[in-house]
C-alpha cells in the first residue's frame, strides 16, 4: 500500500515503450555493469586515495588527473564516487537478497497451505504494512546503532510484505494449474514440487520484482545514509556524499552532492527500466 507496489504498476505503463527499445536496454545494462564493476573493483580503479584529504584543494575544480575535481575536504571526487559504489550497491543487494528470500518463502507457504496459515501470514504482513520503510530503518538505527547492516535489514523487513503479496498471487495461480495436481497425484512431496516445479515457473516474476526492489532499496538506503543513520562518514557512499556535499551546495560548490546524486539516479533509472523489461518478457506478470 505504498509507493513500491503502485509506482511499479503505474510508471510501468508509460515506460513500457521506452523499456522495449534495444538501445535503451543496452544503455541500462552498461550503466549497471559499470556500477557493479566499480562496486567490486572500486578501490583498485580509484586513481587516488578516496580518503586522503588536503584542505588546500577544497572545492578545487577539475584539473590534470583529477577529472572531477575535489570535495569540501580536498578529497578526489572521482575516487570517492568509485569507492562509494561498493556500499551503495552492497546495501540494496542485501535488502533484495533478504526480502526476496523471506517474501518468496512466505508467499509459497501461504499459497500452498492456505487456510489458517495463509490468514496468519496475511495478518502479520498487514501489520508490517503500517510501517513505512524509512521509519523502520530509523527505528532500527535507534536500537542497533547507525550502520548499513541494520538499515538494510530493516528495509528488507519493510519490503517483505510487498514481495510476499505479489508472489503469493502468482504462487496461487501456479498452485491451481494441472501440472501441480498431476505431481501431487504421483506422490511427490510438497517441498519437492515447490522447489523443483513451482518456483522455477515463477522465476521471471521473481527476477522482475528483485530488480525493481533493488531500485527502491537503493533510494531508501541512500536516504538513510543521507540523514546520517546508514553508512558512516568518512567512508565514501553516494548517500553520504550527497549529505556531506550539502555544505558545498550552500557555498555554491554543488559538484560533490550533484555527482553522487547523479550516480544514484542513473543506477536507479537503469535498474527500473531493466526490471520493466524483465516483467515484459515474463508476459507482464509483475502486475
Amino acid at each position: 500500500m505504498s509507493a513500491l507496489a503502485t509506482a511499479g504498476a503505474t510508471v510501468g505503463g508509460g515506460r513500457r515503450r521506452l523499456a522495449g527499445s534495444r538501445v535503451v536496454t543496452g544503455l541500462c545494462v552498461a550503466i549497471v555493469a559499470v556500477a557493479l564493476l566499480a562496486a567490486v573493483l572500486g578501490p583498485l580503479l580509484a586513481p587516488h586515495d578516496p580518503n586522503a584529504a588536503d584542505l588546500n584543494n577544497a572545492f578545487v575544480g577539475p584539473y590534470g588527473d583529477h577529472p572531477l575535481g575535489f570535495d569540501g575536504q580536498g578529497r578526489d571526487l572521482l575516487s570517492r564516487l568509485l569507492d562509494g559504489a561498493r556500499s551503495s550497491m552492497l546495501g540494496p543487494a542485501i535488502v533484495v537478497a533478504v526480502a526476496m528470500a523471506a517474501g518468496t518463502l512466505l508467499a509459497v507457504v501461504s499459497a500452498w497451505l492456505g487456510g489458517w496459515v495463509d490468514s496468519a501470514i496475511g495478518a502479520v504482513l498487514d501489520v508490517l504494512f503500517a510501517f513505512p520503510a524509512v521509519l523502520l530503518a530509523i527505528l532500527a538505527a535507534a536500537v542497533f546503532g547507525a550502520g548499513l547492516t541494520a538499515a538494510a535489514l530493516a528495509l528488507a523487513v519493510a519490503y517483505t510484505p510487498y514481495i510476499a503479496r505479489v508472489l503469493r498471487s502468482a504462487a496461487l495461480r501456479e498452485r491451481a494449474r494441472e501440472y501441480v495436481a498431476a505431481l501431487e497425484v504421483q506422490g511427490l512431496p510438497a517441498v519437492a514440487i515447490c522447489v523443483r516445479h513451482l518456483l522455477p515457473n515463477m522465476v521471471g516474476l521473481v527476477a522482475a520484482q528483485a530488480t525493481l526492489l533493488f531500485g527502491y532499496a537503493m533510494v531508501d538506503l541512500a536516504a538513510v545514509s543521507f540523514i546520517g543513520l546508514g553508512v558512516q562518514p568518512p567512508q565514501a557512499d553516494w548517500g553520504v556524499m550527497v549529505a556531506s556535499g550539502r555544505a558545498g551546495v550552500l557555498q555554491g560548490y554543488p559538484a560533490e552532492a550533484l555527482s553522487a546524486g547523479l550516480c544514484i539516479v542513473l543506477v536507479v533509472v537503469a535498474v527500473n527500466l531493466l526490471g520493466e523489461r524483465i516483467a515484459q518478457r515474463d508476459g507482464g506478470g509483475a502486475r
Binding site: D126, P132, L135, I138, A142, L250
Partner: protein, 315 residues
C-alpha cells in the same frame, strides 16, 4: 457503508495496537540492558535511574510494562527526553506543527500540480502529453533528498529567491521557509500521481459509455465532467491518498535536508543519540498518522466506488 466502516475501524484498532507494541518492544530487542538503552549509554545519577525504573516499571513483566507505556501514551505522556531534558510530549508539541504544515503544503502541491498535469496530459494528446511524460519521468527518478539539494542549489544559492535552511519566524516567513521543502517532498509523488491520472483519464475516454455520450451530442465539457472525471476519480483518489500517506515518513529526510524543526528531524536526531523515549513517542505518532491517512483513503475509496463496500458486506 456503515458495516464497511465498522470493519475497517476494527482492523484499524488491531493494527494500531500491534504497531504500538512493535514500537515499544523495539527498545527491548536491543542487545544489553534496557536501562543502558534508555540512558543512551550516559551515566545517570542513581535517582534518575530509580525514576527510569519506576517510570518504565522495569521490575514488572513485559506485557505489564507495555500496558503502562500504552495507557500513559494515550494520555499524551510519552516520558521524558534525556537529551532535551523535557517531556517527549513537549518535544512533539513544539514540532508537530512544522511537520503537519510541510506535509499539508506538499499534499496541496501534489493534488494541484499532479492531478493538473495528469489531466492536461490525458485530455490533450500531443505536445502537452509528451512534455508531461518527459517531465514526470525525470521527477519520478529523483529521490527527495536529492531534490532538496538541487532546489537549494538552484533557488536559494544561485537565484536567491527562497531561504535554504531553518524554520523562519512568523507566519509569512515560516511559509516561505516551507516552500522548497514542500516541493522537495512532493516532486516524486507528484510525478506518480500525474502518471496515474493520465492513464485513468485515457482509459475512461476510450470507454463505450463515453463514446455513446459523445455520439448523443452531449457537450464535451459535460461528458468529461460527468462521465470521464467521475469514473477516473477512483484511481486518482487512491494513488493521491497513498502517496500523501507515504510523505509522512519521507518528511524526516526532507526536514533533515532543510534543517527544519519538525517531528521527522527530531526523530532522526533522537535515533542518532539513542534518546529512546523520543524515538518511541515520535515513531508512534508517525505510524498512527500513516495508518489513519490510509484508512481515510480506504473510506473515501468506498464512498467513490460503492462496489467496494458492497463487496465487503457480501464476504
Amino acid at each position: 457503508m456503515v458495516g464497511f466502516a465498522l470493519k475497517r475501524a476494527a482492523l484499524l484498532i488491531a493494527t494500531l495496537l500491534v504497531s504500538s507494541f512493535v514500537v515499544f518492544s523495539a527498545l527491548f530487542i536491543a542487545p544489553g540492558n534496557p536501562l543502558a538503552q534508555l540512558s543512551g549509554g550516559r551515566t545517570l545519577p542513581p535517582e534518575a535511574v530509580a525514576a527510569l525504573e519506576q517510570r518504565y516499571h522495569l521490575d514488572d513483566p513485559f506485557l505489564v510494562r507495555y500496558w503502562h507505556w500504552l495507557t500513559s501514551a494515550l494520555h499524551g505522556d510519552f516520558g521524558d527526553s534525556i537529551a532535551a531534558r523535557e517531556s517527549v510530549s513537549a518535544v512533539i508539541g513544539q514540532r508537530i506543527g512544522t511537520t503537519a504544515a510541510l506535509v499539508a503544503l506538499a499534499a496541496l502541491i501534489i493534488v494541484v500540480a499532479g492531478i493538473g498535469l495528469g489531466l492536461l496530459a490525458g485530455l490533450r494528446p500531443g505536445l502537452a502529453d509528451g512534455g508531461v511524460l518527459v517531465l514526470t519521468s525525470v521527477l519520478a527518478a529523483v529521490p527527495s533528498f536529492l531534490a532538496a539539494i538541487v532546489l537549494i542549489s538552484l533557488f536559494s544559492v544561485n537565484l536567491g529567491w527562497l531561504p535554504a535552511l531553518g524554520n523562519g519566524s512568523g507566519f509569512a516567513d515560516g511559509v516561505k521557509h516551507l516552500v522548497l521543502p514542500a516541493f522537495a517532498l512532493a516532486l516524486a509523488s507528484l510525478a506518480i500521481v500525474a502518471r496515474v491520472t493520465r492513464v485513468a483519464v485515457r482509459e475512461e475516454l476510450g470507454r463505450e459509455h463515453v463514446q455513446t455520450a459523445t455520439s448523443r451530442g452531449i457537450p464535451r465539457a459535460q461528458v468529461i465532467r460527468r462521465h470521464v472525471l467521475r469514473n477516473a476519480a477512483i484511481p486518482i483518489t487512491t494513488i493521491t491518498g497513498i502517496t500523501i500517506a507515504s510523505l509522512i515518513a519521507t518528511s524526516a529526510v526532507v526536514e533533515t535536508a532543510f534543517s527544519l524543526n519538525g517531528l521527522g528531524s527530531a526523530l532522526v536526531q533522537a535515533a542518532a543519540t539513542k534518546d529512546f523515549a523520543v524515538v518511541q513517542g515520535i515513531a508512534l505518532v508517525l505510524v498512527v498518522a500513516f495508518v489513519l491517512v490510509n484508512v481515510l483513503v480506504d473510506l473515501l475509496y468506498a464512498l467513490l466506488d460503492p462496489r467496494i463496500a458492497l463487496g465487503s458486506r457480501a464476504t
